[in-house]
């Protein structure tokens, strides 16, 4: 099984590096707070398949640029969990607010190198009185650094963050890296087809372990104001106990520029 995953991952890597795409990554954050990343709303559905349950999360992200360097945003998740044994639960999950501030920007012709600091606060708004719980029942604070180098030919994005979890939950280190390539010529108004290959990791302290996903994705930008995207997260390493592990997470989403 592991060999098959490895072969599959290698093929995806080869395919995505052979083609020549870039837009905002699907799972990794971007330091570019422009276009749909700063003036629009984002929504996506996560279909989560686990060994002991299936879940669906519909997430709405509403960012607002106070200046071109400073952004605030709210993240509202609606969660539905169907365990293999027991009743299903649905409702709003933990609400998040984040703020991003651009630390540096080095622009060149057809390229930009940018970095920002991001502070995320999670509020325990998800109902935890029933099983399975819809939230973590903990206030959490995450401080991240997000960097990216984007050219008209490709984009490389990196994110590292430390999550301080409350209520006795273990802290964790978040690490993401993404590569993106455009399949169509770059023009404006955009008509872009982009492919991505991402590695999304989460190391949980207190001897819990490491979670690592390989996440290929595809994105279509239709004109000035609309973007569609989809990606799948395939687990390469998991800290969850046997029979609670993740099979895959499929994300389907859209971003709409409104401001």
């Amino acid at each position: 099984m592991k060999l098959a995953k490895l072969i599959g991952c290698s093929c995806l890597l080869i395919v995505t590096t052979m083609v020549s795409a870039q837009g905002p990554p699907i799972f990794t954050d971007t330091p570019i707070m422009l276009g749909v990343q700063g003036r629009g709303v984002r929504t996506f559905g996560n279909i989560i398949s686990k060994e002991n349950a299936n879940a669906y999360a519909q997430v709405l992200v509403v960012p607002y640029n106070i200046t071109s360097k400073w952004q605030v945003a709210a993240v509202v998740p609606y969660v539905s969990i169907s365990p293999n044994v027991g009743d299903s639960q649905s409702g709003f999950g933990d609400l998040k607010f984040f703020t991003k501030y651009q630390l540096y920007k080095k622009d060149g012709k057809g390229k930009t190198l940018r970095g920002l600091i991001k502070l995320t606060e999670t509020f325990p708004t998800g109902n935890t009185s029933n099983s399975p719980p819809l939230g973590t029942d903990a206030y959490q604070t995450t401080l991240s650094l997000v960097n990216g180098y984007v050219t008209t030919k490709y984009g490389i994005y990196g994110e590292v963050g430390y999550n301080l979890a409350g209520s006795g939950l273990p802290d964790n280190l978040i690490y993401n890296i993404a590569f993106g390539y455009p399949l169509l010529p770059q023009k404006y108004p955009p008509n872009q087809l982009n492919v991505f290959l991402e590695l999304n990791g989460n190391y949980v302290f207190d001897n819990v372990g490491n979670n690592l996903f390989l996440s290929p994705g595809i994105q279509y930008i239709a004109g000035r104001k609309l973007l569609f995207e989809s990606g799948i997260q395939i687990p390469l390493a998991e800290a969850a106990p046997a029979n609670q592990q993740t099979n895959y997470i499929l994300r389907i989403g859209a971003r709409l520029l409104i401001f």
């Binding site: 707070m33 276009g35 990343q37 920007k105 622009d107 390229k111």
Partner: protein
């Protein structure tokens, strides 16, 4: 010492020229080099900010070459400083601004 004065003079002259360029009034079709224009989806804010400039009639964004081509309405002129500021406010870096016929 003489060299120092010459360098100081050249430096001040360059500053003066820059100041004059920033105050230049633009007419006709204008080519603006925009650094950091690396992705078409990012360019919406640039287009929107340039549209706010009074006198700018049309805007064409050329992502491949990092350019914004502006047409100034006939009989009107636009302050170069305003163009530069609106590009910076959009999150990009303005470079050379020339009349399109200049190349």
């Amino acid at each position: 010492m003489k060299k120092l004065f010459i360098l100081l003079f050249i430096g001040l002259s360059a500053l003066t020229v820059n100041a004059q360029n920033d105050d230049a009034q633009l007419q006709g079709t204008v080519k603006v080099e925009v650094d950091g224009l690396a992705c078409p989806y990012c360019a919406y804010g640039l287009e929107k900010n340039l549209k706010k400039v009074e006198g700018v009639e049309t805007i064409k964004i050329d992502v491949e070459n990092g350019l914004a081509i502006l047409t100034i309405a006939e009989g009107k002129s636009v302050d170069e400083k305003t163009i530069r500021k609106n590009i910076e406010d959009a999150g990009f870096t303005p470079k050379a601004i020339t009349k399109k016929s200049d190349g």
